[in-house]
């Protein structure tokens, strides 16, 4: 094994990590906002909102992310109206196209995670909040969202990990994130196996960290599922 070469490769690939993380976290963050809106639309009981939201989820879940990226990057530029519009400076940049595609895609999956989480909030606890005189805004902010978040976390952690890996597709439209850099290095050195193994290890490490972070978040948010504080038990009150 050529350790110096592996090390050198790692150093080069690490320069792509910030872009990978940036793409993944921005798209997951923006996608979450969109997902909550889509989920609320789907649960609104208004056909005018349910139908478009369901259609959106159907379209973005049922087509490949790669095709979506191509459609936004190559496809939109075909239309003169797009090229003439004020959005063109954004839509001609591969970075923004990748970010938009990733965001729209993750929103569709996350919508279903959020919808399931919202449905899991016990109706009795919502009723208790209404009976206290909470406004709908306070009710969502203080009761519904905190409870839903606890249900959404495991599924959302999954989605975040998937998104880290999905950013690799952005290399197809010239972005030099980890996979893009790896492809470049391979074309220079033809040492595909070593470079790809280092690239895979890089993703592995990122996702290991994210898994830990999600576990930590789950732990801190689930004090109610663990045994009560020990100090109280020693007091003999139980």
């Amino acid at each position: 094994m050529d350790i110096p070469f592996l090390y050198e490769t790692l150093l080069k690939l690490l320069t792509g990590v910030p872009l990978t993380l940036q793409l993944a976290s921005s798209s997951v963050g923006l996608g979450a906002i969109l997902a909550v809106m889509l989920a609320l639309a789907r649960l609104s009981g208004l056909r005018l909102l349910i139908w478009p939201a369901s259609f959106y989820v159907f379209i973005f879940r049922s087509t490949p992310l790669l095709v979506q990226i191509f459609l936004i990057y190559h496809g939109l530029g075909q239309f003169h109206a797009v090229r003439a519009s004020f959005l063109w400076p954004i839509l001609r940049e591969p970075y923004w196209c990748a970010l938009i595609a990733l965001t729209l895609n993750t929103a569709a999956y996350a919508c279903e995670i959020v919808r399931g989480a919202l449905l899991s909030v016990p109706p009795g606890q919502i009723e208790a909040a209404r009976a206290c005189g909470m406004s709908p805004f306070t009710l969502y902010r203080r009761i519904v969202f905190p409870l839903a978040l606890r249900h959404a976390l495991p599924g959302y952690g999954n989605e975040f990990i998937l998104m880290i890996k999905s950013t690799a597709l952005a290399s197809i439209i010239t972005l030099m994130e980890v996979t893009g850099l790896a492809a470049e290095l391979i074309s220079e050195s033809f040492r595909a196996i070593e470079i790809l193994i280092v690239a895979a290890a890089t993703y592995l490490f990122i996702n290991f960290t994210i898994t830990r972070l999600v576990l930590w978040a789950e732990y801190t948010l689930s004090a109610d599922l663990r045994p009560p504080p020990v100090t109280q038990r020693q007091g003999g009150s139980l």
């Binding site: 606890q125 208790a128 009976a131 004090a223």
Partner: protein, 256 residues
């Protein structure tokens, strides 16, 4: 503080249907300040629905609801004045059969939630008062526990304390002991009895006959969505009442 000549809750000709089934067939009821009204009736008689109409968790189809001197305004479209409703709800304490404590908050956080975020009272006051209330219902040492760590009886006492923390003018109890193991019923009833002795206005849907007989100032018996008979516990449990009520007492509902 309480004035037994002032009405605390007044329902007039309340009607409510679920689909084709009419649950409430024109109910009129008045509770004065300091009254403890026990609402009895077989299951399906509409007693819970009636109680839930008072704070509009259930929307009546027609009729009028007054809390204190204020009538809940209903719009033509079947809606309500949202701000008024939220303000009135904050002055009505509700205790549910299944406690409905917020599971992601500790007991203390449950108690201070509405006072801080609905009534906008200073946090320090709310905490001090909440601790006193927990002391009063006998679970002060559970303040930092989560609802899941408490027994049913403790949860229900916490739920009563949560309702009291909002300084309610009226307390509504919707079968507060029905979900409890028999040995836990007593501790909740003791707390409710203490509240009644303080002169709090309470409307209680219950199957606890001893509570209804000994604690309440008025008993209302619902049968098939209408008030079949009402009166003081003495009258109701003595010769008074109706055939239907006597049948109910003698175990017709399978609960006694």
């Amino acid at each position: 503080m309480t004035d037994p000549t002032k009405p605390a809750v007044r329902l007039t000709e309340l009607r409510k249907s679920f689909g084709a089934f009419e649950v409430l067939k024109g109910i009129s009821l008045e509770a004065m300040e300091g009254d403890v009204v026990s609402i009895l009736g077989a299951s399906g008689s509409g007693k819970s629905t009636m109680l839930r109409c008072i704070n509009m968790l259930e929307m009546p189809d027609s009729g009028q609801i007054e809390v204190g001197v204020e009538a809940i305004r209903l719009t033509k479209a079947g809606g309500t004045d949202k701000r008024q409703l939220q303000r009135l709800r904050a002055s009505i304490g509700m205790v549910f059969q299944n406690f409905n404590l917020w599971s992601h908050m500790t007991i203390l956080e449950n108690l201070i939630e509405a006072p801080i975020h609905v009534q906008k009272r200073p946090r320090a006051d709310c905490v001090a008062e909440a601790e006193a209330l927990l002391e009063k219902v006998g679970i002060a040492e559970k303040r930092n526990h989560y609802p899941a760590h408490l027994s049913g009886g403790q949860q229900q006492r916490a739920a009563i304390a949560r309702a009291l923390a909002q300084h309610p003018k009226v307390m509504l109890f919707d079968e507060p002991t029905s979900a409890l193991d028999p040995e836990l019923v007593g501790e909740v009833l003791r707390v409710m009895r203490a509240l009644a002795e303080e002169g709090r206005t309470m409307l209680v849907v219950t199957h606890e006959m001893s509570f209804a007989r000994d604690v309440s100032s008025k008993i209302v018996f619902l049968h098939k969505g209408a008030i079949e008979v009402e009166g003081s516990p003495q009258d109701m449990f003595a010769a008074g009442g109706s055939d239907c009520f006597r049948q109910f007492l003698s175990g017709g509902n399978g609960l006694n």
